[in-house]
Amino acid sequence: MNKPTSMKKQTLYRRLLTFSLPHKARFGFAFLMLALAVSAEMAIPWLTKIVIDEVIVPQQFEWPQLLTLIGLVMLFYVLGAVFGYLQAVAFKHGALLVVKDVREQLFRHVLNFPIATFDKLSTGKLVSYITNDTESLRNMYVSTIPTVIQGALRTIAIFIAMALLDWRLMLLSLVLIPILLITMHLYRKISMSVFDGIRVQVSNINGQINESLQGMALIQAFRQEKAFHAKFEKDNQSWFNFRSKSVAIDSLMLLPLTRLIATLTAAGIVAWFAEASLSTVVEIGTLYAFLNYVERFFDPFRQLSMELHKLQVATVSSTRIFELLDDESEMHHQAMPTVKINDSHDIEFRHVTMGYEADKRVLNDVSFTAKGGEFTAIVGHTGSGKSSVINLLMRFYQQQQGDILIGGQPLHKLPESQLRQLFALVSQDPTIFSGSIIDNINLSHDVLNTEKVSTNVVKNSRDKAISAAEMVKADHFITRLPDGFDHQQNNGGASLSVGERQLLALARAISHDPKIFLLDEATANIDSESEETVKQALENIQDGSTVISVAHRLSTIQHADQILVMNSGKVVQSGTHLALIEQDGDYRDLYLAQKEQEENEHKNSMLGLASASATS
């Protein structure tokens, strides 16, 4: 019954070990040093036995011989220390490199996940996979693996030495191995569920801290400090309960138990020798060496018991890491050849159907063409599928049916880099990265390698970024910041207002020089005056570039070349503003609703208005 899981574990460990292959020279060196260190260590009791049996017990003190022997003991201590140091450094260094590889691989892998995967997994969890879980992998490489190997090497060396001293007693001592292994197995079995409980609680606690930190202003504004603290305490308490159990189990089964077995063994050995001494002559040195070797024999097991803890954590962590790495939903990102597309960049949706969840369609048989170089607007109520069109164009998600063509070529045939060159997205809540303002506008450029790039190029890209910012009048607020364009942003641009972030994102898009601008409610939080500026800026750069804009407010899109009206996942109307308001339909309803509202308010606002207006 246990077979399949143990099989799985085996492959898991094998897979873990493959990560060390690129560093096998380093690990090989570490093993060699370890073997040498163990050998040096094992020679010491033997030499001591010689000292006792040949010098001390017979009381024949030949000082030159004794000093030579003592010198040898010291020499082996020195050798043991040197090899021990080299071994430890080599293992730790190797482990760090392995973890670095794993982290790099994970990070790259996660970057290529489809957006849908990010929707499923929380940010906190993903971050924890990449940082914390790999950290426990490191623990395993740094301490568990060396301990296991060291333990095995030592055990073998000890038994060889004991066999040479007294092979019958050695055979008897072999009984210890199954005893210790059974205790370890029992410990593992008992502590498994407790460890799982601890881990779950730790991740709950971390999740809660993370969430509370991000929503702190709100928690305080609504005076929910107590409620959040109480909820937190519940998990904290339950963590404590699990942890108390694990302390009890550890105290019963780890160090105290091995020490007990060690004492009993010592008693047994002494009894054996004492018994023998009644009939034959025994060598005190041999007894001493035996006691010493057996004592050393328990060390690895004691350490191994402690390592079990880490091993268990590492097992879970690596399972998670591998699950993530094996997630086959990764998009194909093998190098695709650049696709030649028509210069016009027409975007065409052909009978596209899409849903985020299998049974819920967000887009239903959507077809339209957005001509290159023109302004296409998409309007409709919340939930009508407007943003999904953008999501598909950005290839954040994949449609279930239908085709999306760009410049006559299927969108999915385009390599990633070409796609990103073509499009620039400005979303409602733009992400600001840590770094300076200029870096944030300049993102697409290789900012990190600036030293390698000639200063001219740097200056050019800087100028370009600044002029992009000026174009959307973002320079107004930027120059007011300390250090202006070199102002360092921390914590996701928390010090900038949403509107400021939107302006930055627009500047970023412009400096990116795309063929197609996708605006997803990109100006919702920008004041009307700035919005006007932005609109003009977009018009300026619009020669030749295509704009697709999702908007709630009809005022911002009335001059669009084409307006698509969406309702429940379908394009229900399309045309220019002029054409659409003449038709019966959603657009006119929307338009009239907005207009009626305005009128109501004008009436309510009484006479002041009339006098302010210049006309009727």
């Binding site: 006792i52 001390i56 003190f61 000093l67 201590y77 021990g84 730790k92 260094h93 760090l96 970057l111 971050v127 740094v142 606690i205 991000q214 702190m216 202003a217 709100l218 305080q220 504004a221 409620a227 305490e233 904290n236 963590w239 404590f240 108390s244 302390v247 105290s251 160090l255 105290p256 138990l257 020490r259 007990l260 004492t263 009993l264 008693a267 002494v270 001493y288 950005m394 880099s417 499009f423 620039a424 992400t431 993102l443 921390n490 914590n491 207002s497 949403v498 990116h512 409610e521 919702a524 004041d527 709630h552 001059h559 509202q597 305005e598 308010e601 606002s605 002041g608 208005l609 210049a614």
Partner: protein, 594 residues
């Protein structure tokens, strides 16, 4: 608080150390018996039983001290974690603007772990190495020979010297490594949470490079730690070896002199072997204590973090009028060199509506932050609530009067109902549905398979921006606060929904006082008073009509926004250069259709 646990643990440790002397002593006696040939079965059995009994006694006592000591360490961790969270709950937003979430998370996880380890393992090794070490040494002196002990322990000062040096090195290396890990966490978090931006900008390469650079820093810092760490055990073993070699040589000499027996010598070497543990722990505990200390200092800094906004002591009567008055001479964010607000003075009358508008970055949201006392105002600036200076009031008194809808909607994990009921956890289903109706989102929630019990994904990712915004509005409406602070609450709503929500507010919440920040001036037509902020100053103020007459920024923007309404508000001179001009004709056409 945990003194008793530690005391019991220490006592148990001391007894263990004493009992631990017995087996070696008995073995020494047996050895003497063997080598002198004066040995019989009965003595042997008694001796062996002695060893077994002491083993059993030690097992029991070891269990006691381990469970007491580690029990105390996790109890302490629990308390610290709880207090840290409490501290987090009381730090002001100014603090959170400075510190990244990833960094704070690292404090609450990594650093706390290091402290836990120190309080358990660290204290254990400290006490154990001291008690066990001293006991063994006393045993060596009294059971075997003081002379031999003194000589054998000659290298001991070396041990102290070395461990201290390593300790310092490790402290520095470890601090660097911890902060490198913080950076790594933050770097990862930024990329993962901004994945859409990363993807759409095609900057995976850039992010990878940044990540790799941080990763390299982490590896480098950790290699430094590893090197110091790896040198500990071998060095100590070396010192121990020196002790061992000296005792063999000197022991042999003492036996030659006839001062000690072979059995005692065996006992001595066994004791010496027992000293290796404390020797190693002695070094290792420096290691643990350094880590714990570094982490504790980091935590302490957090605990010592000043709460920038100090709570007052006064409370308000239940029926205190819901009016506010603002008198802000100037305000700058901490560590910023520019004033965000200058000379802002206005009254927010009870049941009144004051609107605030102005260009992006003009300081509108800041005004709401100050009303909530998220930042500290400096004298002589003041904000009054019900005639009381807001900084004289308890947070509870102040904030129970205010319900805030932030510009960026934030949702917590849990169900939709729980999120709406944030400020009033015991709200009835009926109340929740009512406010959802008011925010015009009830139908949409009920259309979901699980309705109001739909669980939200992290950050409410399974809702649209407009839905999130309306949920936060519903949340504010449910709170019993008399004053609503609305920060651009309709920005993500489509026009139809916005109109509906505004109607609901007018019909059902006219008794509440409202401070409304908005870009959509149509929202302000009925406001009692409107402030137009520009660059932190009041540029215009007055009622809607007055402002429209005023022909300033407000009038200009209002006219532009109202083109849609088909009202011929456009003054010729304003609109000529506007691209929208073309559509005026179409709008008049619409009028014909009517």
């Amino acid at each position: 608080m945990f003194g008793r646990h530690y005391l019991i643990a220490i006592v148990a440790l001391q007894i263990v150390a004493l009992v631990n002397l017995v087996p070696s002593w008995l073995i020494g006696k047996i050895v003497d018996g063997i080598s002198e040939g004066t040995f019989d079965t009965q003595t042997m059995i008694i001796h062996i039983i002695g060893i077994i009994v002491s083993g059993a006694v030690m097992y029991g006592l070891r269990f006691v001290w381990q469970s007491q000591l580690y029990g105390a360490s996790i109890a302490i961790t629990r308390v610290i974690r709880s207090e840290l969270f409490q501290k987090f709950l009381h730090l002001s937003p100014a603090f959170y603007a400075r510190r990244s979430t990833g960094d704070l998370m690292a404090h609450a996880t990594n650093d706390l772990n290091a402290v836990e380890e120190t309080m358990g393992m660290g204290v254990m090794t400290l006490v154990d190495s001291f008690i066990a070490g001293m006991t063994v040494i006393l045993g060596m002196i009294f059971v075997v020979s003081g002379e031999l002990t003194a000589v054998a322990l000659l290298p001991f000062p070396l041990l102290v010297l070395i461990t201290r040096r390593y300790g310092m090195k490790l402290h520095n290396a470890f601090a660097t490594a911890q902060s490198a890990f913080s950076d790594l966490t933050e770097e990862t978090r930024e990329t993962v949470s901004g994945i859409r931006a990363v993807r759409s900008l095609g900057i995976s390469g850039r992010q990878e490079k940044r990540f790799e650079k941080t990763l390299d820093d982490t590896v480098e810092a950790n290699i430094r730690v590893a090197k110091v760490d790896a040198s500990f055990t071998p060095t100590i073993q070396l010192v121990y070896g020196l002790s061992f070699v000296i005792s063999i040589g000197y022991g042999a000499w003492l036996i030659e002199q006839g001062n000690i027996t072979v059995g005692l010598f065996t006992t001595f070497t066994l004791y010496l072997a027992q000293l290796l543990g404390p020797f190693l722990q002695f070094g290792w505990q420096f290691n643990v204590f350094q880590r714990g200390n570094t982490s504790w200092l980091r935590l302490e800094k957090l605990f010592a973090e000043n709460i920038e906004v100090i709570e007052g002591e006064k409370t308000l009567p239940k029926d205190a009028p819901a009016n506010m008055s603002f008198d802000i001479h100037h305000f700058a964010y901490p560590k910023a060199n520019r004033n965000v607000l200058n000379n802002i003075k206005f009254e927010l009358p009870s049941a009144g509506l004051v609107g605030i508008t102005g260009p992006t970055g003009s300081g509108k949201s800041t005004l709401l932050h100050l009303a909530l006392r998220q930042f500290q105002l400096k004298k002589p600036s003041s904000i009054h609530l019900s005639g009381m200076p807001s900084d004289s009031l308890t947070f509870d008194a102040l904030r129970s009067k205010l319900a805030w809808v932030p510009q960026k909607p934030h949702l917590f994990s849990g169900t939709i109902a729980e999120n709406i009921a944030l400020a009033k956890p015991n709200a009835s289903q009926h109340e929740i549905e009512h406010v959802a109706e008011m925010a015009d989102i009830r139908a949409e929630i009920q259309a979901m398979p699980e309705g109001f019990d739909t669980p939200l994904r992290e950050g409410g990712n399974n809702l649209s921006g407009g839905q999130k915004q309306r949920l936060t509005l519903a949340r504010a409406l449910l709170s019993s606060a008399d004053i609503l602070l609305l920060d651009d609450p309709f920005s993500a709503l489509d026009m139809k929904t916005e109109v509906q929500v505004r109607r609901n507010l007018k019909a059902h919440y006219a008794h509440k006082t409202m401070l409304l920040v908005t870009q959509r001036l149509t929202n302000l037509i009925e406001a009692d008073h409107i402030l137009v902020l520009n660059d932190g100053q009041i540029e215009e103020r007055g009622s809607h009509h007055e402002l429209v007459k005023n022909q300033g920024w407000y009038a200009k923007v209002y006219q532009r926004q109202s083109q849609l309404g088909g009202k011929d508000l456009l003054l010729n001179n304003v609109s000529q250069d506007e691209p929208q001009t073309a559509y005026n004709e179409s709008e008049s056409e619409v009028s014909h259709h009517e």
